[in-house]
């Protein structure tokens, strides 16, 4: 077993040992959203033509859970290690920056997909969306989790206090997920806000993911794939560079 596999294993074990908090809690949260918003908005919000609102909402909530948990995994693991000081155990090893990247992002993908699958499995009782193109579902879930895992890595390296991490999460990640079309189709928005939504990379992840269920989306899934892929490449490049120079972890 090479070094990155151990780090990957350790990172998976880390969230799995506290699965109540890292897996069960976000599933319950997503279900509450689904029940409350689904119940209240079922007859009021019109999306696409043939899709009922709760079914429309489900993929959005699944993807939101995937993204938020992928981000939370790498970012909280890193900031905790930094504040506890036990990151030194990693810094003393021959692990390369690539090994760090693969292990942290990989474990974030695992957590994102585990939570996403959990939300999906439980929510299936309430609404059964169709599964028109499952491959798109997998591709967008995977890439979205990777992108947020890499973003969490950057945030974890940058933040020196839990306070800064909370700011990153609440002022950047949360608004971008909520304003990305989880709860609505952006076609229901005024033209100006539709344009603004097109600048939000999270929108393409959710839109592409939803395409896999309904075969309908606000923009072509290929456009979404290209943009999400480009964002993933840029964010990964930055994360790898920061790891290589030991940004805020080596002096």
């Amino acid at each position: 077993m090479s070094g990155w596999q151990t780090l990957f294993y350790k990172e998976v074990l880390r969230f799995w040992k506290v699965a109540f908090q890292t897996v069960a809690a976000p599933i319950v949260t997503a279900l509450l959203y689904l029940m409350i918003f689904g119940h209240v908005l079922e007859d009021r919000v019109q999306v696409y033509d043939s899709v009922n609102y709760t079914a429309f909402l489900l993929p959005g909530l699944v993807m939101m859970s995937v993204l938020q948990n992928a981000f939370a995994n790498s970012s909280s693991s890193l900031i905790q290690s930094k504040i506890m000081g036990n990151i030194v155990f990693l810094l003393l090893t021959p692990l390369s920056h690539r090994a760090w990247f693969v292990a942290y992002v990989g474990s974030s993908i695992v957590r994102g997909l585990v939570v996403g699958t959990g939300v999906m499995a439980v929510a299936w009782w309430f609404a059964k969306p169709s599964l028109v193109a499952p491959l798109w579902i997998l591709v967008f879930a995977f890439m979205g989790a990777a992108l947020l895992g890499a973003l969490g890595l950057i945030a974890g390296l940058w933040a020196e206090k839990f306070d800064q991490m909370a700011a990153f999460q609440n002022f950047l990640i949360m608004p971008m997920t909520f304003l990305s079309g989880v709860f609505y189709s952006i076609h229901s928005l005024p033209a100006f806000w539709q344009q603004v939504s097109h600048l939000n990379p999270f929108f393409y992840m959710i839109d592409g993911f939803r395409y896999g269920f309904f075969g309908q989306s606000d923009v072509s899934p290929w456009v979404s794939l290209g943009l999400v892929g480009a964002a993933l490449a840029v964010v990964s490049g930055i994360a790898l560079h920061l790891l290589k120079i030991g940004y805020k972890i080596r002096h």
Partner: protein
């Protein structure tokens, strides 16, 4: 080939209050199998030097190698040959002792390391704690785990950064027995920084002393001790020393120690004390030790006193 080679290592930290030069062109080599001591007062640059060796910090200029491997350009090989016990008492609360050691082995690409892990646990008196969570361990036990973690990959070069700070006497003995054992049995090279000078005196064959980022002495322990040919007059008092004596005295609470070359010097000191009306008790004359050399080399008595307090604390 040297086990560790520091070549003109300098380090400048940029701070908001301007640049701070922590190391100024430090150069020395440690040979394989040596038990080497790195001493110096707080802030002398010991930990910075160790950090650069371990890859936790990079030098502003200069170069460090571990068994010929540059710690920057060839860091993977360098770190495989190096086991570092950090100064801070850190641990990962998610795991128990055995898990922590297995994971640490895995980072170095080592699987099925349990035989060696068992040996480490036994040697450090941790066998019955193998399945205890790290959070449940006392400070001393955590310290032992830190040492085990540094040794999982059987490094030929071991670095201990003040490993016995805040550790009780019994544990200190265990640790030193264990580390000397590695040094003697396996021929491991040991680099030790410590505040306990009697420890350095007992364990280290050679010593480098740092002061304000510079090497002020680099000699075998015996020749360093030979430098301190003089004796020390030691007594207790509640009175205030005359200022010219206070300036050269090492004072720890009631205990006062004054350098005294020979019998005549002892007599002069006692006469001066009598003259000043200082009542003394428990007078003794002892041979100077490493600490006297240390204080002599690293500077003023005022800077020395806090160190003395830490040693006796």
């Amino acid at each position: 080939m040297s086990a560790v080679s520091f070549q003109n290592v300098s380090k400048t930290y940029r701070t908001s209050r301007g640049d701070f030069q922590a190391l100024r062109s430090v150069s020395f080599d440690i040979e394989p199998g040596e038990f080497f001591g790195l001493l110096g007062p707080n802030g002398a640059g010991k930990t910075t030097l160790i950090s650069i060796l371990a890859g936790l910090a990079s030098p502003t200029s200069g170069r460090v190698t571990v068994l010929g491997h540059d710690v920057q350009s060839d860091y993977r090989a360098a770190r495989r040959h190096l086991g570092v016990v950090p100064q801070e008492l850190v641990f990962d609360p998610f795991f128990n002792v055995r898990e922590a050691l297995r994971i640490q082995s895995g980072y170095f690409g080592i699987r099925h390391n349990d035989d060696w892990i068992d040996e480490l646990l036994a040697g450090l008196g941790l066998s019955d704690k193998a399945s205890a969570n790290m959070r449940q361990l006392s400070g001393g036990m955590k310290r032992r785990v830190l040492i085990a973690q540094a040794l999982v990959h059987k490094p030929p070069v071991i670095v201990l950064d003040e490993p016995t700070a805040g550790v009780d006497v019994e544990l200190r003995q265990t640790l030193w027995q264990f580390v000397s054992g590695l040094n003697k049995r396996l021929g491991s090279t040991v680099l030790l920084t410590t505040h306990y000078l009697e420890e350095a005196e007992a364990l280290c064959g050679r010593i480098a002393m740092l002061k304000q980022g510079q090497v002020v002495a680099l000699e075998s322990t015996s020749s360093l001790l030979a430098r301190a040919s003089s004796n020390v007059l030691r007594f207790k008092t509640d009175g205030a020393l005359p200022s010219e004596l206070a300036a050269q005295a090492r004072i720890t609470g009631r205990v006062v120690q004054l350098p005294a070359g020979d019998v005549a010097a002892v007599e002069r000191l006692l006469a001066r004390l009598r003259e000043a009306g200082v009542v003394v008790e428990d007078i003794e004359i002892r041979k100077a030790d490493l600490e006297d050399v240390f204080l002599d080399l690293t500077g003023s008595q005022s800077a020395a006193n806090p160190i003395r307090e830490e040693v006796s604390a």
